[in-house]
Structures are given as C-alpha cells and as structure tokens.
C-alpha cells in the first residue's frame, strides 16, 4: 500500500461531490459519503440518482480507496427509509395498471445501487445514529460493518403499511442474523436498540453518543493497513450477495404494492401531523 505521502489520488472530479441529498469526499484512501436530505434522509428518486453517480465513480475511486464510510448529517436520524410521500404521489398520478411498472423500475434502480455498494472493492462502514428505519436499515445492511451510536434505533416497519421491505432488507437481514430474529422484526414492526442488534451480530461495534463517525474513521484507518487484493478476495468469499432472493423480494413487493390497503396506509402517513410518522 503506498504511503500517505506517495498515495495516488483519484481524478479531482471524482474526489468530491456535492449533491442535493448526499455528498462525498475522498481523503487519504477513505471516501466519506454523507447523507443530508431534509427532513430524515428519505430515499427517493433524487437520492437514488445521486447514489448512482457514486456507484459509477466506484471503479475509479476503488484503485486508491481502502474504505468508505456512510453516515448522516441530519440530527437524530441516519435514514427513515423510503420516501413514502414521493411513493404516494407517484401512486396517485399513475394508473393502477402502470403503477407496478413504475415501482419495479424504481426498485431495480435501488437494488443495482445496493448490490454495487454491497460488492464494492473496499470496506464499507455504516456509521449510524438516531433513527434507522426501513430503507435506511436496508442501506446500513448493505455495508460490511455497522457502527451504531448506542442511542440508535432500528426497525422494519413496512408490514404496518401493508408491504415488505423492498430495498433488499429481508435477504440481507437473513444473511447477517437468524431467520427467527428477522421474523420478529418484520412481523412486529418494532424498533430495536443498537445493543440488541450488536447482541445478534448485525451491529459490529457500539459507539458512545455522538461517537459513531469517529469510531467508523478509526475502523477505516485500521482496515487500510492490509493488502487490498487479499481484502477484496476475503470480502467476496465472506459476503455472498443473495441475488435470487433479492429478485424474489422485488417481485413480492410489486405484487403487494398495488392493493388499496397499501395506498390507504400511504395516504394516512402523508396526512399525518406527527413529527415522526415513521411508525404508523
């Protein structure tokens, strides 16, 4: 690995990016991706488009990158999940016949982003604080290592809305945790704290309040000490991507989505006056 003094840098144009929902910055072999989309880093078409730009930059960044940290600039939240308001808008302005097609297109895009980050040729670290629900939890699960602030809370509340996690959460949760625990999370839709997730192996390291990013940076420095080729080989051996299950998840999501009960739940969410309507 080149010393820091002789470290080759990626082209300037890819080293930094400032978008409307996220930004990234490469420094000393580590790229930090920062989510910053008010109010709660909801994952909609704009964030997916900006993630696609990041994914397109990965092959170039990878040559000189040992680790990538994904974190949030929003206070009290990593990501509250899919942009349900946008989803409802799309459903309302699309005929029921075309609705499923639009949803499938969106899911295919998200899955392509998730799969690219899942298999990125550097170590990926999610530094989670606050609320990490639904699609936000799915985003964290894509990463190799999750560091969680001890006050972070995680949930898959999708069944409350009448559908299932659609961004790859079920296959990835099963990859890292027991099927029994996955059933509890999904069927109850309950939130769990970071300590509990560490106990079942999903969260690797707990951080004191406000310390998740610092600890993620420390991990990034540590992982950068080792041979890149060896690390890449170990990662692909250790972390298979459940492609067949991910595809089945998309199919099932689309089948469930077009029902009146789902549209009703989305409407209720959109009309809620609660500051945090993420647990309907």
């Amino acid at each position: 690995m080149p010393s820091r003094k002789t470290q080759i840098q990626p082209p300037t144009s890819l080293k930094t990016f400032k978008g409307r929902t996220l930004s990234w910055e490469w420094r000393d072999g580590v790229v930090e991706v920062l989510l910053d989309h008010a109010p709660a880093n909801e994952i909609g078409t704009l964030m997916v488009a900006e993630f696609e730009r990041f994914v397109a930059a990965i092959p170039t960044l990878a040559k000189d990158t040992a680790a990538c940290i994904l974190s949030s600039a929003r206070p009290q939240v990593f990501s509250a999940g899919g942009d349900l308001r946008e989803m409802y808008q799309t459903a309302m302005t699309t005929s029921p016949k075309k609705r499923v097609g639009e949803v499938r297109k969106f899911l295919n895009r998200i899955h392509a982003v998730a799969n690219a980050i899942d298999t990125a040729p550097f170590v990926t670290i999610a530094a989670v604080h606050g609320v990490c629900f639904g699609g936000g939890f799915e985003l964290a699960l894509v990463c190799d290592i999750i560091v969680a602030d001890k006050m972070a809370r995680f949930a898959f509340p999708e069944l409350r809305l009448g559908f299932i996690p659609g961004f790859g959460g079920i296959p990835r949760l099963k990859r890292d945790a027991s099927n029994a625990f996955a059933r509890d999370l999904l069927f109850t839709g309950r939130t769990v704290n970071a300590a509990r997730l560490q106990a079942c192996g999903i969260v690797s390291q707990l951080a004191g309040e406000g310390e998740a990013l610092r600890i993620a940076r420390s991990i990034a420095v540590q992982t950068s000490k080792y041979d890149a080729e060896t690390r890449k080989a170990a990662k692909s051996f250790l972390k298979p991507v459940p492609y067949a299950e991910l595809k089945r998840e998309i199919d099932l999501f689309c089948k469930l989505f077009n029902r009146p009960t789902v549209i009703e739940s989305l409407k209720k969410f959109v009309e809620s006056r609660d500051a945090m309507p993420y647990l309907p």
Binding site: K150, R190, N193
Partner: protein, 80 residues
C-alpha cells in the same frame, strides 16, 4: 429484584435527567407527553435510555397508548 415502586422511581429519575427537569417535579400519574412536551422521536430516545438502564427490550407496541409514568413502569416491570 426491583419492586414496582423502585422501578417507577427510577423511571422518573431517568426522565427528569434526560429531559433536564428538576428531580421531584415529575409524579407517577403525570402524562409524560403533556408534562414534558415531547414528540414521538424524543419518546423513542427515552425508550432507548430505559432499555439500556434496565437491561431489557421494551417493544414500542407494548407502550402504544401508554402516556403515564406508572403504567410505563409496569410494562418495564413485566420484563425484569
């Protein structure tokens, strides 16, 4: 093992510390949403503090509709 009274006292203490209100200003019958002016996000934070303090898991659906400290303490007590 803690009695319900002890658990209730600890809940009140934790709430007063977390939300920076004078110790002794909260009582078991108080509606914590109204008394403390908290929203659902702050309630989630409080839930985490309670879980960490008591070493339990307290599913949110078990405290749905609960708004007073005494009932909250009894939900915690059943997990000890």
């Amino acid at each position: 093992m803690r009695t319900l009274e002890q658990t209730t006292a600890e809940v009140l203490q934790l709430a007063s510390t977390h939300f920076k209100v004078p110790a002794g200003s909260l009582s078991p019958e108080d509606d914590f949403f109204k008394k403390l002016g908290i929203d659902s996000l702050q309630a989630l934070e409080m839930l985490t503090r309670l879980e960490n303090h008591f070493g339990i898991e307290l599913p949110d659906y078990e405290v749905q509709g609960v708004s007073d400290f005494r009932t909250l303490a009894s939900r915690i007590q059943s997990r000890l």
